[in-house]
Amino acid sequence: MKFKQLSLFLENQPAHLKQPCRILAEAGIDIRPLSLADADQFGILRLIVADWERAKHVLEEAGCAVRVDEVVGLEVADECGGMAHVLEVLEQGGHNVLYTYAFTFGEAGRAVLFMRFEDPDAAIAALQAGQIHVLDPVRWLKRTE
């Protein structure tokens, strides 16, 4: 029930963000959700793609350092209070969100949140117990292709 997320280190300079995007484009790999964490001198690009192994391979061949982490994807109603509800459920279980990013994917009224936890399995259990829809990566990536 976990997504593989790729993280890339980029220097905070013109054209450095473009490069991995171009590499993936040339390999015919569509970037799905994406987030960029920025610091003064560098950034960390986080990506979710359907074929993460191939994406990792082509990026590494091009000289990028790529890290793989597991993140949890969940679907919420795209409405006022949707996010707050999720966070309440997590707070009750004592699960700290290391970072999160949100994404809509063309289905009206629905949004997807990606969250990174110290212990994703425990967080998934808590979310499911709270009746929150935790996404199955294979099915979701296929459905939204």
């Binding site: 997320q5 993280s7 280190f9 980029l10 220097e11 450095h16 964490a37 920025d38 610091a39 001198q41 560098f42 960390i44 986080r46 590494e60 061949e61 000289g63 990028c64 350092a65 790529v66 890290r67 982490d69 290391l98 970072y99 990174r116």
Partner: protein, 445 residues
């Protein structure tokens, strides 16, 4: 095939050609004195600059009654070679000189060095003893990636390996693709290169999915730039070969002045041809064995261009104890520091090797680094650029900043200064194919 990191057992072999390595000490000292007297006489008679300086000091070759008397002789420095450019220090007539080499030097004119046929024979001998000390033998396949040409590294190693009876591949530096192809297809067992170039080769071989563990490569002969013990351990662990440090400089002969042996515990100076002293770099006073100072070398047999008390600018110590390999030749500590490489930042003396040591202490950081010096207002700034590898990559900004801090802490611990650390993308620092340029000084004036 031996396991990475575990020393192979190598017994000293008493081949005739290595016999001078094991001369009983009294005999060695006697030989040195005889040769010293002869070479100083030669230089006095044939090199005007040397004679002039001796006369100023009121010393004559006949004053040399024991080895310790060498301290009364004048020093030779690199600028003497520049000032007498190109042929002013030659002690042989032009027609006896069969080879010239030159070192580019970063400033001004190059320095030119000369060899008679006898000098070339000595050079081949000491380089062949170097290879033997590093466990290379007749029948080995030696890939010589030291640069051929005016630089002494390529040809020095070349003739030494041939003298030993090894097969030499004179590939010279550069063209990494071809280096990898030759290494694999020719069954290379020993490689001569700079340590930074070897790391580059290793990286590229990994990218090219070369099955490194199954290559017959056994020995690396590394020189031409200072490297640290930590770097050696990294190289040996990652490549499974034994990495040896060799020492030499064009002014003296080229490579072949000194070499590690199977003990990998200091470099034996080929004392029957090169007489080492350690001096206080400030006062010039001789220091006893065991104390650190500047290495000074005298060529004991070089005909075309005798160097008397040449100041190398390399900082080291003569190790007083006898080596467990059995050689009677004295050893110097491996040279991590050259007084030329040192730079001063905010009043603190810093050597690039200290930066390397600090980086190797932080798990997962590659020894590829670059130091940039700049001036902000009146304050000197030092920034170390370090490549981010998969091993240290975090998916959070906090994680990367923690790495930055870890590197800055390690640097501060070793050099005593808080300096800037910039994380850069993998493979973004230039890879050298010869001597790595680590320091970029952009300070004006």
């Amino acid at each position: 095939m031996h396991q990475p990191g575990t020393p192979t057992q190598e017994q000293p072999t008493f081949l005739p050609r290595s016999a001078p390595d094991y001369l009983p000490e009294p005999q060695l000292r006697e030989l040195q004195l005889t040769r010293l007297q002869a070479i100083v006489t030669r230089a006095y008679e044939r090199v005007p600059l040397f004679r002039e300086r001796c006369e100023q000091r009121g010393v004559q070759p006949s004053d040399l009654r024991q080895l310790a008397d060498i301290q009364h002789l004048p020093f030779t420095v690199k600028n003497d070679l520049r000032d007498t450019y190109p042929f002013g220090l030659f002690a042989s007539p032009r027609e006896e000189i069969v080879r010239l080499h030159a070192s580019s030097g970063t400033t001004g004119k190059p320095i030119v060095v000369a060899y008679t046929q006898d000098d070339l024979d000595v050079w081949s001998e000491v380089m062949s003893r170097t290879f033997a000390a590093c466990g290379v033998h007749a029948g080995d396949m030696v890939q010589n990636a030291f640069g051929y040409g005016l630089f002494t590294g390529g040809l020095g190693a070349h003739y030494g390996a041939e003298e030993l009876g090894a097969t030499v591949i004179p590939i010279s530096g550069g063209n990494t693709e071809r280096q990898m192809m030759v290494m694999r297809d020719f069954g290379v067992t020993a490689l001569c290169a700079t340590p930074s170039y070897f790391l580059h080769l290793l990286e590229r071989a990994r990218e090219a999915d070369i099955d490194w563990a199954n290559l017959p490569l056994r020995v690396g002969i590394f020189g031409a730039e200072p490297w640290t013990e930590a770097m050696r351990q990294r190289i040996e662990q990652e490549s499974g070969i034994r990495a040896y440090d060799i020492y030499g400089l064009s002014e003296i002969i080229g490579p072949g002045v000194g070499s590690e042996c199977c003990a990998q515990d200091g470099l034996h100076i080929f004392e029957d041809h090169f007489y080492p002293e350690i001096i206080d770099p400030e006062s010039g006073a001789p220091l006893p064995d065991g104390e650190e100072g500047e290495l000074v070398l005298t060529t004991l047999s070089k005909q075309a261009m005798p160097m008397i008390r040449y100041r190398t600018r390399d900082l080291t110590t003569i190790i007083p104890e006898r080596c467990r390999c059995g050689r009677t030749l004295r050893r110097i500590q491996r040279i991590g520091r050259r007084s030329d490489d040192m730079f001063i930042i905010r009043g603190v003396n810093v050597f690039p090797a200290q930066v390397e040591t600090a980086l190797l202490q932080v798990e997962g950081t590659l020894p590829h680094y670059q130091i940039t010096l700049s001036r902000k207002g009146s304050l000197d700034q030092m920034e170390v650029a370090v490549e981010v590898t998969e091993a240290v990559l975090s998916d959070t900004v906090g994680g990367m900043e923690a790495l930055q801090k870890q590197v800055a802490d390690a640097l501060e611990h070793i050099i005593g200064l808080r300096v800037g650390v910039r994380l850069v993308e993998p493979q973004s620092l230039p890879r050298s194919e010869g001597k790595a340029k680590r320091v970029f000084d952009n300070r004006e004036g």
